[in-house]
C-alpha cells in the first residue's frame, strides 16, 4: 500500500465517522440555523421604518409633512418597507397641541406651516424629525418659487436627494468592485479565524483522543505518523471546508431570497484568492495543532496546550484588522512575511490592492515552504509524543524520543 493510500484511508475514516457523529450534525445544524436566523429574522420581525406622530394646528402643514415623507423615502428600494412614516393629529388650537406634546402623544407640532414646536432641544428621533421637517419646509418654499417658473415638484425632490457631484476615486477599478473585494476579504478573515479555532481544536482533540484511548499504538504498528497526521488534517479540513462552504451557500441564497442586505457583485478572482489563503492558513495551523495534540495524554489537557496557537490566530486576526486601515503600513508589510499571520494579512492587502506582486508571491512561497518544514518538524514531535504517557510531554523530549 502506498503512503498516500493509507493517508487517504485515515482521512476517509475521519470524514465518515465525524459526519455520523451527533456533534457534527448538531454544530452544522446550529450554524445553519444561526446564519438563517440572522438573515431572515430582521425581515420578519423588524422594520426599519422610523415612525413619528406630528400634531398640526392651522393650515399649510400637510404639504410639509407629505414632502418630509417623500424626502425621507426617496432612496428606498421599491419592494422594501418605507424608511419614514409620519402620522398626523389635527388639534383645535395651540394649547391643546402643546398639552399633547407634553404628554408625549405627539413628537412635534407644526403650526400654520411656519413654526415647529418640540418639547426640548436634543433627543435623537426628535432632532432628525425636526431637521426632516425643516428640509421639507425649505423644499416646499423652493417648490413654490420654482412652480412659478413652471418646474415640477418631483424634479425638485430628485435634485435635493441625489448627489449632484459625480464621485471619482484615485485607484483603478470601480468603487463597487472594491467594496466587494473588501467585504469578501473581511468575511474570509473572520471565517479563517473561526475555522482555525474550531477545526484546529478538532484536530488537536482528535489526536489526543487517539492517544488517550491508546488506539494510536495499533495504528502506528502499520502506518507512519505522517500518514495519520496528514490524513487527519485532510479529513477534518475537508469537513471544515464543506461545512463552511455549505453555510456560505445557504447564507447567500437566504440573502437573495429575503433581500435583507445589499450584496455587491461577487468577483470570482477574489473568492479564489481567499480560498487559496484559507487553505494555506488552515494547513499551517492544523499541522501545529496536530503536533500539540500528541504532547498531552488526556483531552482535559488539550485546551491548555492549544493556547499558543489560539493566541497566534488572535494576533493574525488583529494584525489584519489593522491592515484593513493601513494596508501599506510597516506592520502589515512585516506580518505579510510571517507564516502564521500571512494568511490573515495577505488577503486583506490583496483586496485593498495594496500588495506588490513580488510580496504576494514571496509570502505564498514562505507559507508553502513553512507547511513543508512544519509538517516534518511536527511529524517528528507527533511521532515522539504519541507513545509517551503520563502528563505533558515536552517538545524537546518528544523530539528526542521520536523513532525516526
Amino acid at each position: 500500500m502506498t503512503g498516500l493510500a493509507a493517508l487517504g484511508q485515515v482521512a476517509l475514516r475521519e470524514i465518515s465517522e465525524r459526519v455520523r457523529s451527533k456533534a457534527y450534525l448538531i454544530t452544522t445544524g446550529l450554524t445553519v440555523l444561526i446564519v438563517l436566523g440572522l438573515i431572515v429574522a430582521p425581515t420578519i420581525f423588524g422594520s426599519d421604518t422610523t415612525e413619528s406622530t406630528v400634531g398640526t394646528v392651522g393650515e399649510g402643514n400637510e404639504v410639509i409633512i407629505s414632502t418630509a415623507v417623500d424626502l425621507g423615502n426617496a432612496n428606498d428600494e421599491p419592494d422594501q418597507p418605507p424608511s419614514v412614516a409620519i402620522e398626523t393629529v389635527q388639534f383645535e388650537d395651540r394649547e391643546q397641541a402643546e398639552t399633547a406634546l407634553e404628554n408625549g402623544e405627539v413628537d412635534a407640532v407644526l403650526v400654520d406651516g411656519n413654526e415647529v414646536i418640540v418639547e426640548s432641544v436634543g433627543g435623537f428621533n426628535g432632532n432628525s424629525l425636526v431637521s426632516g421637517l425643516q428640509q421639507a419646509a425649505g423644499t416646499v418654499q423652493i417648490q413654490e418659487i420654482v412652480e412659478e417658473e413652471g418646474q415640477q415638484a418631483t424634479d425638485i425632490i430628485e435634485i435635493l436627494t441625489s448627489d449632484p457631484l459625480e464621485t471619482t476615486t484615485l485607484t483603478a477599478g470601480d468603487p463597487e468592485e472594491g467594496d466587494s473585494r473588501t467585504l469578501i476579504a473581511y468575511f474570509g478573515l473572520l471565517l479563517l479565524y473561526l475555522a482555525v479555532l474550531l477545526y484546529g481544536t478538532w484536530i488537536l482533540t482528535g489526536v489526543t483522543e487517539e492517544k488517550s484511548n491508546r488506539v494510536v499504538e495499533v495504528l502506528l504498528s502499520s502506518v507512519r505518523p505522517w500518514q495519520i497526521l496528514g490524513g487527519k488534517i485532510l479529513g477534518i479540513g475537508s469537513l471544515a471546508l464543506f461545512q463552511l462552504l455549505g453555510t456560505i451557500a445557504i447564507a447567500l441564497v437566504a440573502l437573495r431570497v429575503t433581500g435583507a442586505f445589499d450584496l455587491p457583485p461577487i468577483e470570482i478572482g477574489a473568492v479564489l484568492n481567499l480560498l487559496l489563503w484559507f487553505v494555506v492558513g488552515f494547513l499551517i495551523f492544523a499541522v501545529l495543532f496536530g503536533a500539540a495534540g500528541s504532547l498531552v495524554s488526556r483531552t482535559e489537557e488539550a485546551n491548555t496546550i492549544a493556547m499558543p496557537m489560539s493566541m497566534a490566530a488572535v494576533v493574525g486576526f488583529f494584525v489584519s484588522i489593522s491592515a484593513l486601515n493601513d494596508p501599506d503600513g510597516v506592520v502589515a508589510t512585516i506580518f505579510t512575511f510571517v507564516p502564521i499571520t500571512a494568511p490573515f494579512v495577505v488577503p486583506v492587502r490583496t483586496a485593498l490592492q495594496s500588495i506588490p506582486a513580488w510580496q504576494y508571491i514571496l509570502a505564498l512561497v514562505i507559507c508553502v515552504a513553512s507547511i513543508g518544514v512544519l509538517t516534518v518538524l511536527a511529524g517528528r514531535i507527533y511521532a515522539g509524543g504519541l507513545l509517551r504517557y503520563g502528563g505533558r510531554v515536552g517538545v524537546r523530549e518528544a523530539w528526542q524520543s521520536a523513532a525516526e
Binding site: S21, V215, L219, V223
Partner: protein, 295 residues
Amino acid sequence: MLQVRDLHKSFGDIHALDGCSFEVAPGGMLGFLGPNGAGKTTAMRTIFRLLRPDSGSVTWNGDPIDPDDLLRFGYMPEQRGLYPKMRAGDQLTYLGRLHGMSKRDARESAEKWLNRFGLGGRVGDPVESLSHGNQQRVQLAAALVHDPELLVLDEPFSGLDPIAVETMSDVLREQAAAGKAVVFSSHQLDLVEDLCEEVAIINAGHVVVRGNVERLKDSAPIRHLELETEGDPSELLEFLDGVQSTHMDGERLTAIISADTDVRGFIAHAQRAGKVRHFAYTTPSLSDLFLEAVR
C-alpha cells in the same frame, strides 16, 4: 523468520532492554515470559519500529524490517486501544484497509473474525457498548484481520474468562499450524507450557533462558519433587540432599532439588517412615524454570 538480536534500549537511567535476543520461525509459537517491567513490551514495540533500539537489530527473513513488512504483521498491544464510538465491523474493516486490503476483503475478514469470536450479532455495535472481554476479542480480531505472517500479542490472555481463553488458544494453535510465526507474552505459565514449544524468559531487559521447553526442562539443573505420606513429610527433608526450596501444599510437600540428587535413598527413608500416598519426581515445570531464572 523473526530474529531479534541483542537489543539494548535505555530511557534515561533505566535500561529497559539489556541484551534481548530471541527468534521465532514460521509455524512456531514462542512464549515470551518475564516479570512485570522486565522489558517485554519495549521489545515488542521495537519489532514494530515504535521504538528505536540503542543497539541491536530486528530482522524479518534476514532483512531489517521495513514499512511493507509491518503491513504483514499483526500486533495486539498491552494497552488495548480501539475507537470507542466506532462500530466493531467498521473498525476492523478500517484496520484491514490500513494494512492494504481491498474494501471487500477487509469487510469479509472482519465479519469472519467477529463470527469466529461469537460476536457476529455485534458487527454494527460501537466497541464501547461491548463488555471488557468482548472488546478484547475485537482487539485480537484487529491483530488478525489482515491475515498476518507474524503475530505479536502482548498479554493476550489477561482478563479473559476460561471460555475466551480456550477460543484464544485454539486460534493461536491454528495460526501456528497455518505457518504463521506467533509470539505472545503471558503470566499464565501453565497455559504457555501447554501452547508453546519454545519460550524466552526475560529478566531486567536481558533474555536469560530461551529454547525448546522440553529440552530446557531436561537440561535444567533442578528437579521437581512431590511427596505425601501418612506422617509429616517435612520431617524427612533431612534425608534429602540439594534442596533449593520447599513448600507445603496441604499435606503435600513440594521441593525443588538439584538434578544430580539421588532420590532412591530418600524414597527408602520415606517408605520406612510410613505409608507413601503420593510421590512424584519430574523435570521442573515451566513455572519452576521461570522462578529459577528470574530470582
